[in-house]
């Protein structure tokens, strides 16, 4: 009895250690300061930092995106970097406060839920520069830059792909019903931009296409995402674009189950969603890393665009489409050409993409 208890205990402890050890090691390598490739980076006195939202590092989305922007700045500009992860919403203020007190500037705050906090801390620390990813300020404090994205432009390209693909038959999952689907997280203006761009893009190449939009009401419920996916496929949709955070992961499952193609969002979801290669047509990506890097670069150059909202679109390489990956050889050249034409037209200003459906 006694020796059995001890045995059970030691196994449990070993498990705890093992579980802790693996991510612990992984983290260690990517938080390591200094470059590993032997080149000496240029020196800079700028200390850039970021505060993650409750998703934390490893979200394979904006937090990781912003962090890779910081890492690039460390490497190419020689700035000192620091990340504070938040576990609770009340951590936002104390994390920003501590970074500002420790002399970090610029400080990036990731996610629109931090908007109020950034405004407040910008007043408390007038000499610190802030970058708010996905945050919109009205008015913008002089020491803050809002980093926004023209999601509608990237979504327009996704719409072009979907609108042409549903007419095509390069994959067995495509039907001849000319219906495509959109899954949104919350029905708020930020997400409606995705929907509007997607519909406009699809209609521009396929005026008769039917686009069905469904909203999950949140960004986390994967079961709901799967259900919405089933519902869309039931209604004959064969290409589905999801701008819904975690909800989209459920929709991917539905697509794999019932046979439809999927267009990912925010990051190249081919890389982040396991075993999704046979349905992941492409992804609409937001280059949070570029936005963060450009902002740090501006601080280093002394041209911080404080008091403004910087909007990163196709022209600024702030949004775009990910590679087709497994579909690279299947997708007809005509579709690729149409996407390229839409991209150049939008950058040239001959196409204006709507922001509300």
């Amino acid at each position: 009895m006694n020796s059995k208890t001890i045995r059970v205990l030691s196994v449990l402890l070993a498990l705890v250690l093992l579980v802790a050890f693996v991510p612990g090691c992984a983290k260690k390598t990517d938080t390591g300061t200094g470059t590993s490739d032997g080149t000496t980076p240029p020196k800079s006195t700028v200390k850039a930092a970021m505060v993650t939202d409750v998703g934390g590092l490893g979200d394979k989305s904006f937090n990781d995106g912003a962090y890779s922007g910081l890492q690039r700045a460390e490497k190419e500009l020689g700035v000192e970097i620091k990340v504070l992860e938040s576990k609770e919403i009340t951590d936002y203020e104390s994390n920003i406060d501590q970074l500002a007190t420790a002399g970090f500037s610029p400080i990036f705050a990731v996610g629109f839920l931090m908007t109020d906090t950034v405004s407040k801390m910008a007043t408390a620390f007038p000499d610190t520069q802030f970058g708010g990813v996905d945050e919109f300020f009205d008015p913008v404090p002089a020491n803050v830059v809002g980093l926004n994205f023209k999601e509608e432009e990237g979504s327009y390209l996704a719409g072009v792909v979907a609108g042409l693909a549903t007419k095509d038959s390069f994959d067995s999952k495509l039907n001849s019903d000319n219906v495509i689907g959109f899954v949104g997280g919350m029905d708020i203006p930020l997400i409606q931009k995705f929907e509007a761009g997607f519909i406009a893009g699809a209609k521009s190449v396929n005026p008769d296409v039917k686009v069905i939009s469904l909203y999950a009401g949140n960004f986390t419920d994967q079961a709901k995402g799967k259900e919405l996916g089933y519902s869309l496929i039931e209604q004959k949709a064969d290409v589905i674009y999801a701008a819904a955070g975690q909800v989209g992961l459920g929709t991917v499952e539905a697509c794999k189950d019932k046979g439809a193609l999927f267009i990912g969002v925010d990051v190249d979801q081919y890389e982040t969603v396991a075993n999704s290669g046979d349905v992941m047509l492409t992804s609409m990506i937001k280059r949070v890393d570029n936005a963060v890097f450009e902002t740090i670069k501006a601080v280093v150059d002394g041209s911080f665009p404080g008091g403004t909202i910087k909007v990163f679109g196709l022209a600024e390489e702030g949004v775009g489409l990910a590679p087709y990956h497994d579909f690279e050889s299947k997708v007809p050249q005509a579709i690729k050409d149409a996407v390229e034409k839409a991209r150049t037209d939008i950058i040239a200003g001959t196409i204006t993409v709507p922001t509300a459906p």
Partner: protein
């Protein structure tokens, strides 16, 4: 009763108390030790990490204020859980009641705009308690009448509450602007920060009062803890609650209505969780949005476990979890230890409290050794 027997019984009492207090302490200590082992193995400096953690949770008045800020909802949620546990009810859906409490406060605060604080504050807190109690009432009735397990029903009700709040802040209650949230509560409906109650001169003279974001919700929580303790110890209501928890059949035989006591216990548990939601909305965010709670209703379970369901012990237990959370930022900043380590330490605390048997086993073993050494 002989004197010797009396002596033995007081001895046993002391041993029981020592064990009651000792096990949670031992659990926390073990968690911290294993936590440092994990840090050491992963290549971090545990001493620097814990020093930074302490600095960030108790090191300055502001840091202590953050600890209080984070402990406040945990005390209230923990109290709610503990009260339920005492009646052998597992109100796992405290989070849902918390949401309804937050909703009541966030909505009524806007409706009562223009009322003085001494009208608004009590009404808001009361409304939040009622909302939390009401949200627990249906699972309570289901439990009492047809025996539907409260773990299932309260959990399901949590989803309903969360989506309901989410719908309201996106739709009917949304304030103008990009972000789905309600309008800012008028100052009279906000729980003031502790430091705002004192004049600049007083703060200058007594800098320990500069507790940053800590707000009067902590007072609400402490008063609630004392009231719950008093109710459980000295009132018929509390006696019935405990009696049903110990042995429902014996209680029924003794003339206590188990059904009615169950309903009351879950509703009181819900009202305390509702209060937790209210202090977050009124004291921290000053508005309602769909992510205003970081799972306080669930952390409350761990708090109640660690406190062994004693209402007063809930306060230090919540302070521990609050401090771990408040110090995590400083730990990342000063010692470069990722915040996930804190989650591991928290999980270990819960693990050892839950696996109390293991700790008791070691304590007993130690006692046996001690007695055999003496003998």
């Amino acid at each position: 009763m002989s004197a010797a027997a009396e002596d033995r019984s007081t001895n046993r009492d002391w041993a029981a108390i020592a064990q009651k207090v000792g096990t949670p302490f031992a659990s926390v200590l073990l968690a911290i030790l294993i936590g440092s082992l994990i840090m050491w193995v992963s290549g971090y400096d545990p001493i620097a990490a814990y020093a930074a953690l302490f600095q960030g949770s108790f090191g300055t008045p502001k840091a202590f204020g953050d600890t209080l800020l984070k402990s406040t909802p945990l005390i209230l949620a923990g109290l709610g859980l503990a009260y339920g546990f005492r009646a052998n009810l597992f109100n796992i859906g405290a989070e849902g009641q918390l949401f309804m409490g937050g909703l009541a406060a966030g909505w009524l605060g806007l409706v009562l705009a223009g009322q003085p604080w001494y009208v608004a504050l009590p009404l808001l807190l009361l409304a939040a308690m009622l909302a939390g109690a009401a949200w627990a009432f249906i699972p309570a009735i289901l439990k009492a009448r047809i025996g539907a397990h409260e773990v299932i029903t309260t959990m399901m009700f949590t989803y309903i509450a969360r989506y309901f709040v989410s719908y309201l802040v996106i739709g009917p209650l949304k304030s103008p602007g990009q972000i789905p949230q309600t309008g800012l509560l008028p100052p009279e409906s906000q729980l003031p920060r502790i430091q705002s109650l004192f004049s600049d001169a007083t703060l200058q003279a007594m800098p320990f009062l500069k507790m940053g974001r800590a707000h009067m919700g902590i007072l609400v929580a402490i008063v609630a803890a004392v009231i719950v303790w008093w109710v459980l110890k000295y009132t018929t209501l509390g006696y019935e609650n405990r009696a049903v928890g110990y042995n429902p059949w014996a209680a029924e035989t003794g003339g206590i209505s188990v059904q009615w006591t169950t309903v009351k216990a879950l509703c009181i548990s819900g009202s305390l969780a509702g209060l937790a939601g209210a202090v977050e909305v009124m004291g921290v965010h000053h508005r309602l949005f769909d992510q205003f709670s970081s799972g306080f209703g669930f952390t409350g379970i761990a708090v109640a476990l660690l406190a062994k369901n004693h209402p007063i012990a809930v306060i230090p237990a919540a302070l521990l979890f609050g401090a771990l959370s408040a110090g995590a930022g400083t730990m990342q900043l000063m010692a470069d230890v990722p915040q996930k380590i804190i989650l591991i330490v928290q999980a270990l605390v819960i693990f050892f409290v839950a696996a109390e048997g293991i700790v008791t086993y070691f304590v007993k073993q130690r006692q046996k050794e001690a007695t055999s050494n003496v003998g």
